[in-house]
Amino acid sequence: MDASVPRDDSLVTMTDLTREFSSGGSLMKPRRTMRAVNNVSLDVPRGNVTGVVGESGCGKSTLARLVLRLLEATEGTVFFDGKNLATQSQAEMRKLRRQMQMVFQDPYSAIDPRYTIRRALLEPFQVQGEAKTAAEAKTTVEELISMVGLSTRMMDSFPHQLSGGQKQRVGIARALALRPSFLVLDEPTASLDVSIQAQIIDLLEALKEELGLTYLFISHDLSLVRYFCDRVVVMYLGRVVEILSGAETQPRHHYAHALLESNFEPDPTRRKIVTMLGGEIPSPFAKIPGCAFAARCPAASDMCKRERPPLSNLGDGQMVACHNPMD
C-alpha cells in the first residue's frame, strides 16, 4: 500500500501506524519499549462498520486513540477525510473533532459525576464555542435524549442515578451532539448486561442508518463483531494478522481461527472441542523477529520464527499475514 495516497472511498486511512510506550528509564530500571500498535495500515470505508477484534494487549484500544489523535503516533499517519491529522493545528484539530467522536467502554466514568445529563449534553457545544440560547439548548438536549431512546425526564439526573445502559445511551448522545460522520466505538457494550448489550447494538445500528455514520468498532467479542461489522480486522500483539471481508468469511490465520473457535455459540447441539493453544501471549516488551503468534501456533515452521509474514491479499478483500495459512 502506498503510504502517501489515501483512497477516496475510505473516510479514514491509517498508514504504517506505530505507537510505542516505554517504561522504566529511571535509576534502577533500564528503559524498555513496547510497541502497542505496530505498523498497522488500514482503511475505514465510508458508511461501513469496520470491526477490530483481539484479546487484551493486542493494541486495539491504542489504535482507537491513534485514529482520533487522542494519542500521538510514534510513526505513521492517519488521514481523516483526506487530511493528515498529525499536521493539523490545534484550532484545525478542534474543528475536525466535530467530525470524529468516540463512545467509550466504561459508561460509569464517561460522564463527569458532577454534571447533570443536560449539562453533559451541552458541553460539546460549549467546548466548540457554539453559543446557544436557553430555548435552543432545551430543544437540542431534548432531541439528543430522545434520539438515543431515553426519556426527557432524565435531563436533570446525575449519572449515578442512571443504570449502565442508560449511561451508555447518554455517552452515545454526547458523541453524536456535534453531528459527526465517524464514530469510534471502543467496546461500548463490554461492561453491560447481555440483554442491555443487544439493546445498545440495536440502537447503534439504527443511528448508523439514520445519520449515515461510519463506525470503527473495537471489541473482544467475535460473535458481536461478526454480526455488527462489514469487515473484521483481527489483531494480535499490536499487528493486524487477518482482515476478513465479511461475517461469514472463514479465517485463514491460525490465531483468527482459534479466536473463532473459542467463541461458544448459544446452541448446545453445536458443542466443540477447542484446540489448545500452547503457551501464553508473549510479553509486549519481547522483541520477536518472526510472526508474533509463532510460539503458540500449531502450524509454525522455522521460517515463522525467523521472518515476519507480510499482510498479503487473498482476494475478495481478505488479507492474511501468515506463511502457512489454513485451507
Partner: protein
C-alpha cells in the same frame, strides 16, 4: 445532591453538631468582638491587675489589669483571621501548583515535587521559624510563614487528586470533543478535586491556629497590644503561681477551638466519605 447536603449530614451527627455550635460561637466572637466584649482589649488598669475571675471580670484580669475575657474574644479575631487567611492562601496556591504539576507533568512536575518533598520533610514550625527569621516578626509575617509552611501539603494532595482524575474516561471524552487544557482543568479536574482539598484545608486551619499561637508565644506573631492567644499564654507564664487564669483561659480557648475544628472536620470526612482520598497523599 447539593454541595450543602454533606454539611447538613455532618451537623446532624452528635460530634458534628456540638463542634459546629462551638465553632459558630468562636466565629461570632471573632466577627463581632467589639459588640460582644464587655471591655476594651487594650485599656490598662494597673491597680486592678491580676484580679481573680468574678462578677466584674468573668475570667479575671491580666498583669496590666486588662479584662481577660475581652482579650480572649478579640484574640479569636487574631487567631482565626491569621489562620483562615494563611490557609486560604496556602490552599489557593497549592491547588494551582498541584493542578499544574499533576496535569502537565514533565519538568515542572519534577521541580514542584522536589521542592514539596523537601519542605514536607521538615516540621511546619521549623519552616515557619526559618521564614520569620528571614522576614521578621509580625502578624503579616506569621500569615506568610504559615501559608508557606502548609503549601507542600495542599500541593501534594491536589497533585495526587489530579493525577488520579486525569485518567478518568470523561476527561478523555471531553478532550475528544475538542476541549483545551483550560476547560479540562477548570471544568472537570479542579471541581472534582476540590472537596478533599477543602476539607484538608479546614483541618489544617486547626493546626494553623496552634502554629499561630506558638509563634505568638515566642513573641514572633502579633505584637502588643494586639491580643493573641499564644502571646497571652506567654505573658501568663510569669504569673502562673499568682494568677493561673491568665494562662488557663487562653489555653482553653485554643484547645476548644482546635478540637472543634478537628471534630467537625472528621464528621465532614465521614459525611463526604472521602477518607480514602485524603489518605492518598
Amino acid at each position: 445532591m447539593t454541595a450543602f447536603a454533606p454539611i447538613k449530614t455532618a451537623i446532624r451527627s452528635p460530634r458534628g453538631g456540638v463542634s459546629a455550635a462551638v465553632l459558630l460561637l468562636v466565629v461570632v466572637c471573632a466577627l463581632f468582638a467589639p459588640l460582644i466584649a464587655p471591655y476594651a482589649y487594650d485599656i490598662q488598669n494597673l491597680p486592678g491587675a491580676n484580679t481573680e475571675p468574678g462578677a466584674a471580670h468573668w475570667m479575671g484580669t491580666d498583669e496590666f489589669g486588662r479584662d481577660l475575657m475581652s482579650r480572649i474574644i478579640y484574640g479569636a479575631r487574631t487567631s482565626l483571621s491569621v489562620a483562615v487567611t494563611a490557609i486560604s492562601i496556602s490552599v489557593a496556591a497549592g491547588l494551582t501548583l498541584g493542578a499544574m504539576a499533576g496535569y502537565f507533568g514533565g519538568w515542572f512536575d519534577r521541580a514542584v515535587t522536589a521542592v514539596v518533598d523537601l519542605t514536607w520533610s521538615f516540621p511546619e514550625i521549623l519552616i515557619a521559624l526559618i521564614l520569620i527569621a528571614i522576614i521578621g516578626p509580625g502578624l503579616e509575617s506569621t500569615m506568610v510563614a504559615i501559608s508557606i509552611a502548609y503549601l507542600a501539603q495542599f500541593t501534594r494532595l491536589t497533585r495526587a487528586q489530579i493525577m488520579a482524575l486525569k485518567n478518568e474516561t470523561y476527561v478523555e471524552a471531553t478532550t475528544n470533543l475538542g476541549a483545551g487544557h483550560f476547560h479540562i482543568i477548570f471544568r472537570h479536574l479542579l471541581p472534582n478535586a476540590l472537596t478533599p482539598v477543602i476539607v484538608a484545608g479546614m483541618l489544617a486551619t486547626g493546626d494553623a491556629i496552634i502554629l499561630e499561637a506558638t509563634l505568638g508565644f515566642f513573641g514572633l506573631g502579633a505584637q502588643p497590644p494586639t491580643p493573641s492567644w499564644g502571646a497571652m499564654m506567654s505573658s501568663g507564664t510569669a504569673q502562673i503561681f499568682i494568677a493561673p487564669w491568665i494562662i488557663i483561659f487562653p489555653g482553653l480557648a485554643i484547645a476548644i477551638t482546635v478540637i472543634s475544628i478537628n471534630l467537625f472536620g472528621d464528621a465532614l470526612i465521614e459525611a463526604l466519605d472521602i477518607r480514602n482520598r485524603l489518605r492518598s497523599v
